[in-house]
Amino acid sequence: MGILFQCRDAVDVFRKKEYDAAVKIQSWFRGCRIRAYLRYLHRVATVIQKCWRGYLGRQHYQLIVKLEFCTMKMNLYNAMAVRIQKRWRGYRIRKYCFNYFYLKEYLKAVSETNDAIREALEEFAEMKEREEKKADLEREEKKRDYQARKMHYLLSTKQIPGIYNSPFRKDPDPWELRLQKAKPLISQRPKVKQKRGVNISNRLACTSARSLPQSEILPPIDRKQCQGPFRDITEVLEQRYKPLEPTLWMAEPINELKMAREELRKQEWMRNINDNMFLPFSSYHKNKKYIPLMHSSSKYGPNSYGSQHFRDENPKKWICDKDFQTVLPSFDLFSKYGKLYSKAGQII
């Protein structure tokens, strides 16, 4: 019995071992299979996830690209808009509110004008100074001349040297030369002060031409007395103020005749009752304009019918063929009209 049990046990051991081995092999194999299956599943899941993720990523990426593109566009637009606005704002401010460059130009122009004015004023001041100096010098000269003229007696003569021509000097003093040039000053006669309060009412009315004129005393003529014997002053004045005695020819005016006529006319006019001229026709003065007949004042000349001929122009309308004859003889009174009674001086 023991060997059976030993055989059973040995088989059992083997059986266990084999069973374990088989289990091991099977489990390992199953494991491999499952692993392979899992691997496959992983792979497939990865592929699915990969595709899905790729899809999602692409979507996202497109969104980003779109956004980026929009942003880029907007930036560009903004930049361009900024440029436009920059120009526009500058232009608007300069045109309507405040132009900086104009201000700068203006200030520059102001300072240039200021400089110009300063120069001009300097020149003006200098000119004034020069004129003043010149005037001063002239005044000095005049004064010195006047003094030299007053002191002309200090001039040196041949015998006696003057005070400005001292023998101990090399050249004479400049005053000496001035004195030589100066004309001696003659003392003026004292002018008579005329009292201008003289009454003019003392003047006589000059009625006759022979009286001397009583005008105001003329101011004295300021020169030396003329030399020589003179005629008596009353004679001279008589001669000077002798009235005019013209010849007969000069006594009458040249248009005497005309004036006499005028005089006569005036006298006659005095006696006129009516000043109007004697008029030829009664309605001459009425100044009516003569309105001729329209009939005779046509555009194409006066109608000759009625003045030149009294027959119609159209011969068909004539009553008879013969010409008209004058029935009455012409008036004898007017046969000599225009002709004189004598042959001399006949009107041709």
Binding site: Y106, V110, N114, I117, F124
Partner: protein
């Protein structure tokens, strides 16, 4: 009698009063004309000397007699009588009113039509003195029809007559716009404008003064004066030798400039500002005053004009005036003008501050010797300049000596500039300004405190805290 009177005019100062009047009066009615003339002359000289004597002349009832005989007598008498009227009228308005009341104006106006220029001159002088006192008297003179005759007198060839007529016109037109308008309506401006070119300096004085009296009342009158084409001829008068001509010319320009910006612009465009600046530089004392005021008026209108004034180098000249002049009112005017220039924009304030005038202004404000007017003006000028000044080197001295009310403006300016400018911050610390700011004691929540806080916030904490115990600054911090 005649001899006695003839000697009297020579020794007026030793004369007594009342007796003479009663003596002279009957002499006026004397038959001989020379006696009348000399009596009138004597009366005139007496009245000229003293106001009381003039009153005695009026009280002695001499005026009606004079007026009555003015109409009839010869020209020497007229001259002497007009001289009396002038001498009486010049002392006070009441005496002038007395002259007007006895009907002298009509006779004086008749004298203005006389042929002799001496008579016209005396009559014009008398009318000028009467019209000088107040507006009613001027109106009375105008109502008597004197103005057209005065304008005719101006056109006469004698220089003395022109002078007197111009001064009479100036006295008439100075009181009110209506009177000035009356003078203008007669066409006086054209003649006055022509006479600016005359070389005689006393005439120029009067003409310029007449034009300035006309121009000062209103914009229209000023424009009419300008239309008479006085620019740029008037600028040559600014270079004249005579001081009063310069003064009157700058007065005229000032009166024109003060009305509107357009008129000031006109003056600037013709180079007037440069001429006035040179004129200020060449004279002293009261002569400068109108020129200084003119610069102030021009700058006050707009900032472009103020910039033009700055460009014409007026600011150094004004600061020289401010420091040199002894008189307070001229200094006040210079301070005001500088304030007007500097108050517009930071550029202007900088131009003023660069010339180092602000410390001078501050000292004038602080000194106890300055008059009220000077103090107020310099304070206003400082305030207005400081509110725009961003030129820090000029502001720094103020931190040390300014009184609190000015200090707050200074600190305010610092607080505006420092946050933006790093170099300025560095300079501020190195020059010890930050330290000073910390030492200022300000009430909490006051404006000053806020400014101090904003300054402190520009700097890192360590530096600020270092100052509290009053320690010196380390430059390395800022340079790192």
């Amino acid at each position: 009698m005649v001899a006695e009177l003839a000697t009297r005019p020579q020794n007026i100062e030793t004369l007594q009063n009342a007796g003479v009047m009663s003596l002279l009066r009957p002499l006026l009615l004397d038959v001989v004309p020379t006696i009348q003339q000399t009596a009138a002359l004597a009366l005139g000289r007496l009245a000229n000397y003293n106001g009381d004597l003039a009153e005695a002349v009026v009280k002695g009832d001499i005026l009606p007699q004079l007026v009555y005989s003015l109409a009839e007598q010869n020209r020497f008498y007229k001259k002497a009588a007009a001289f009396v009227l002038r001498a009486v009228g010049k002392h006070s308005p009441q005496l002038a009113q007395a002259i007007v009341d006895c009907g002298a104006l009509d006779t004086l106006v008749i004298c203005l039509e006389d042929f002799d220029p001496g008579v016209k001159e005396a009559a014009a002088w008398a009318l000028g003195y009467i019209a000088r006192h107040n507006a009613e008297l001027s109106q009375a003179v105008v109502d008597a029809g004197a103005v057209p005759l005065l304008v005719l007198c101006i056109q006469e060839p004698e220089i003395a007559l022109k002078r007197i007529a111009a001064s009479a016109l100036s006295d008439i037109s100075k009181h009110s716009p209506e009177l000035a308008q009356t003078v203008v309506d007669v066409g006086a401006i054209a003649h006055l404008a022509q006479m600016i070119l005359n070389p005689d300096s006393k005439l120029k004085r009067q003409v310029l003064s007449a034009l300035s009296q006309i121009a000062k009342h209103s914009v229209d009158l000023a424009e009419m004066v300008v239309e008479a084409e006085i620019f740029p001829v008037v600028l040559t008068c600014l270079k004249d030798k005579d001081d009063y001509v310069k003064k009157n010319a700058s007065t005229l320009i000032r009166e024109i400039a003060k009305h509107t910006p357009e008129l000031s612009q006109l003056i600037v465009n013709t180079g007037g500002v440069a001429a006035v600046t040179d004129c200020i530089g060449s004279c002293k004392g009261n002569i400068r005053l109108p020129g200084i005021m003119m610069l102030g008026y021009v700058a006050a209108h707009s900032e472009n004009l103020a910039m033009a004034v700055i460009v014409s180098k007026a600011v150094p000249q004004l600061s020289v005036c401010l420091s040199e002049e002894p008189e307070d009112h001229i200094k006040a005017a210079a301070a005001w003008a500088l304030g007007q220039i500097g108050r517009h924009t930071p550029e202007h304030a900088r131009a003023v501050a660069v010339t180092n005038t602000l410390p001078v202004l501050l000292s004038l404000y602080m000194s106890t010797e300055s008059s009220e007017d000077l103090q107020t003006k310099s304070k206003k000028a400082i305030k207005s300049i400081l509110q725009k000044c961003t030129y820090l080197p000029a502001l720094e001295p103020f931190l040390y000596d300014a009184p609190p009310n000015i200090l707050k403006h200074v600190v305010g300016q610092f607080s505006k500039v420092l946050p933006h400018d790093s170099k300025a911050r560095r300079l501020f610390v190195t020059s010890g300004g930050l330290k000073k700011v910390q030492e200022i004691k300000a009430g909490p929540g006051s404006l000053l405190q806020e400014y101090i806080n904003s300054i402190n916030s520009c700097y890192p904490e360590e530096i600020v805290s270092k100052f509290f115990p009053g320690v010196q600054v380390f430059v390395s911090f800022m340079t790192a």
